[in-house]
């Protein structure tokens, strides 16, 4: 029944898992298929089998392919109303904890991390917070650690920041140099960037809030449930889980283990 290319795709994903331990086996199929097709053109490979041979024998080629398999689409204060809701509904409750641990799962190139850090600083919480920012893509993590973003994008983020209830001038948080904005490094003083896979790794800490936005849409239901399981295990009693604007617990086996706090903004609490 399978077409040859579907067989080749499965073999490639399996080969990547066996050789490099990156597990894309339970990612949503349609998107993975498109991304591999895109990679084929960039690698100038005629078939997925040819691409498989290359990445199996050349770790550098695999790291290149990884950049296609992960989707670094992000922005600061993406969905401003989401961050406004965190500020208004979640922060007052977070303030009751003497110390706070936050996990940003699938942090990509760091936009969500700096957004959260800025929000926490303005609310006077950053100094007693530890943020774990994790991703499977080392190149993305490296970029996140740098905290350097294109000035052109930062202009768009400025509008987001203001709509998200930002209290200062967004330019207070970065220094412009040529076409780049270099973000204040004290924002990441309490941030630990780490390689972590929601597909293969386990829980590493108890947390009060987990933000995992626009990551779960790339997983199938089984892998989503694995991720929700990790979040449930990591979160403290009544801890907060925040998802992307189109992500939901509704179709998950964990729908009963969380309750919506601000449903429209995908902010949940552990039941």
């Amino acid at each position: 029944m399978d077409k040859s290319s579907d067989i080749e795709l499965r073999l490639l994903i399996e080969a990547i898992y066996l050789k490099y331990s990156y597990d894309f086996r339970d990612y949503s199929g349609a998107s993975v298929k498109r991304r591999v097709a895109h990679a084929l053109r960039q690698f100038d490979c005629a078939t997925i089998s040819a691409l498989q041979e290359r990445v199996l024998h050349d770790p550098a080629a695999f790291m290149q392919l990884l950049q296609f398999l992960t989707i670094p689409v992000s922005e600061m204060f993406r969905d401003p109303s989401h961050f406004l809701a965190i500020r208004q509904e979640v922060v007052p409750l977070l303030k009751t904890y003497p110390s706070i641990k936050i996990w940003i799962a699938g942090c990509s190139t760091g936009e969500e991390v700096y957004s959260m850090a800025i929000l926490l600083r303005e609310e006077g919480l950053l100094e007693r917070t530890i943020i774990y920012a994790t991703d499977i893509n080392p190149a993305s993590l490296e970029k996140a650690k740098q905290g350097i973003f294109s000035l052109e994008n930062v202009r768009a983020y400025t509008a987001n920041y203001q709509q998200a209830g930002g209290q200062r001038s967004f330019a207070d948080y970065y220094t412009a140099a040529y076409d780049y904005a270099i973000f204040d490094k004290t924002l990441r003083e309490n941030v630990t960037f780490a390689d972590h896979s929601l597909a293969t790794d386990s829980v590493f800490s108890e947390t009060q809030l987990i933000s995992c936005r626009n990551v779960l849409i790339y997983f199938n239901k089984k892998l989503q449930d694995r991720a929700f399981g990790l979040f449930h295990e990591s979160l403290c009693h009544r801890g907060f889980l925040v998802l992307g604007s189109k992500e939901t617990l509704d179709f998950s086996a964990y729908s009963k283990q969380f309750e919506p706090l601000v449903k429209q903004e995908r902010i949940y609490r552990k039941s």
């Binding site: 949503s28 349609a30 998107s31 989707i71 849409i217 199938n220 239901k221 189109k246 509704d250």
Partner: protein, 199 residues
């Protein structure tokens, strides 16, 4: 290619529809005749400005006899329901017949892209897919429609003479010869005449 199907199209399990500029009116015309007993799923991409929340599902729900929803990630595709892709995310069909969202780059400046919906649905439904491409001012959908045809599905393009903006139908016709080139009225009748595929 023929002006109209001689016999009703048989064995269809799902319908995908793409439209851009002029699409709201066109979609209301083709779906307007569907009875509340209509038993096939319809998944549609209509290009809209990139706003976070779209009123599309609400607008169509008020005007049509079938349930209308904005597609949600991991939602199972249900018969007799019209799903719209929401703004800012691509919409695909997965092999377990659920819907998935993604934020890959835009295609022909569009996210959601008709090409992605059509190609993913073609992979899942094969010859049991009916794909319809309507009015629009860009080329999205043309290669997706060709993909549907290659996978054995049935393809319909709105008659460019009649389309509010002919760019999209003409781009599709330049790439492959569809099974039917029809007016909106004929597409509406064709849809209303479809028998559900026995599962």
């Amino acid at each position: 290619m023929s002006d109209a199907p001689d016999t009703p199209i048989q064995g269809i399990e799902a319908i995908v529809v793409g439209a851009s500029a002029g699409g709201v009116e066109a979609l209301l015309t083709i779906f307007g005749q569907l009875p509340n007993t209509f038993a096939l799923p319809i998944i549609a991409v209509l290009h809209l400005p990139d706003e976070r929340r779209s009123q599309l599902a609400e607008v169509f729900a008020r005007r049509l006899n079938i349930p209308v929803k904005e597609a949600r990630d991991k939602e199972a595709v249900e018969a007799g329901t019209l799903y719209f892709a929401g703004p800012g995310y691509h919409l695909s069909v997965e092999h377990d017949r659920s819907l998935s969202l993604s934020q890959e780059d835009r295609v022909h400046h569009s996210r959601p892209a008709i090409d992605y919906l059509f190609a993913s649905a073609a992979d899942v439904y094969g010859r049991r897919l009916l794909a319809i491409l309507l009015t629009g001012a860009n080329q999205d959908g043309a290669s997706g429609l060709a993909h549907v045809k290659q996978s054995g599905g049935t393809t319909v393009v709105q008659d460019p003479q009649e389309a509010r903006i002919a760019v999209m139908p003409l781009a599709a016709l330049a790439l492959h010869t569809p099974d039917h080139i029809l007016s909106l009225g004929r597409i509406g009748s064709l849809l209303a005449s479809l028998e559900p595929f026995p599962c």
